[in-house]
Amino acid sequence: MTFRELDIVRVFEAPRELLWRAWTDPNQICKWWGPAGMHTPRSSVEIDLRPGGTFRVTMVADADGTEYPSDMRFTRLEEPSLLEFEWDGQRGLGAGKSTITFVDLGDGRTEMTNHYAGYLTDMIQSFMVVGSNQQFDKLGKFLTPGSGRPDR
């Protein structure tokens, strides 16, 4: 088995205390969790904000109501700069750990880094097919059998 590490970095026009609350308040996380074409019902969100505590959400596909539950568990909480959680390999994006860090840029903006380290699961394959076909069309054009070309 191979480990994957991936970073996604984004700057938000908001202080990090606001970001911290957006991640840890069930009334807020249900407003943004999940890609386009999915929504996350407030009733499905369970957050027990302490190390070892439960972090659970269920995304629902807008189109056909298919549910995609994710079970996670907090492993580190350092308000307002770092939160870390482990994914349940059977119910979630991957069998690994996500570390979310918030850096105060000093001008009211916050740089957020989402670091993932873990194994791959098939779950993401099934639910990502929904809202992102465009993306795959682009990818398909780039890497169709016969014209495949790795990064140089």
Binding site: L18, T121, G131, R149
Partner: protein, 111 residues
């Protein structure tokens, strides 16, 4: 593609020599000798890399005894790229919503 197979693909792609070999094969099939040429490596060392790539399904070898050209197989590469792309898309798309949510909150505090 099964998860374990994807892991094997990622393992094979982790090495720069193997990625260079795949890049060369993207231009067309080549023999082991031709593939070894740009590298300061022995033929057995290159053969080892080719075995890893073959096990991952990233290349196939011709059946002819003397002339066994290596060929790029794009499908596993596409599957691996797709997984990463889907993972990234999941978060980027979520964070677009988070951005809108935060902007709403900021507007609320200004008033």
């Amino acid at each position: 593609m099964a998860t374990d197979q994807l892991s094997v693909v990622f393992g094979a792609l982790a090495d720069p020599t193997r990625r260079a070999i795949l890049a060369r094969l993207a231009d067309g099939p080549a023999t082991v000798n031709a593939l070894a040429e740009p590298f300061d490596m022995t033929l057995p060392a290159i053969s080892k890399h080719l075995k890893v790539l073959e096990r991952a399904g990233l290349i196939s070898r011709g059946r002819e005894k003397q002339w066994r050209p290596c060929r790029l197989e794009a499908e596993p590469l596409r599957a691996a790229t797709e997984w990463m792309s889907r993972y990234r898309e999941f978060w980027e798309s979520s964070f677009d919503k988070l951005d809108v949510h935060l902007r709403g909150l900021m507007k609320g505090t200004e008033q």
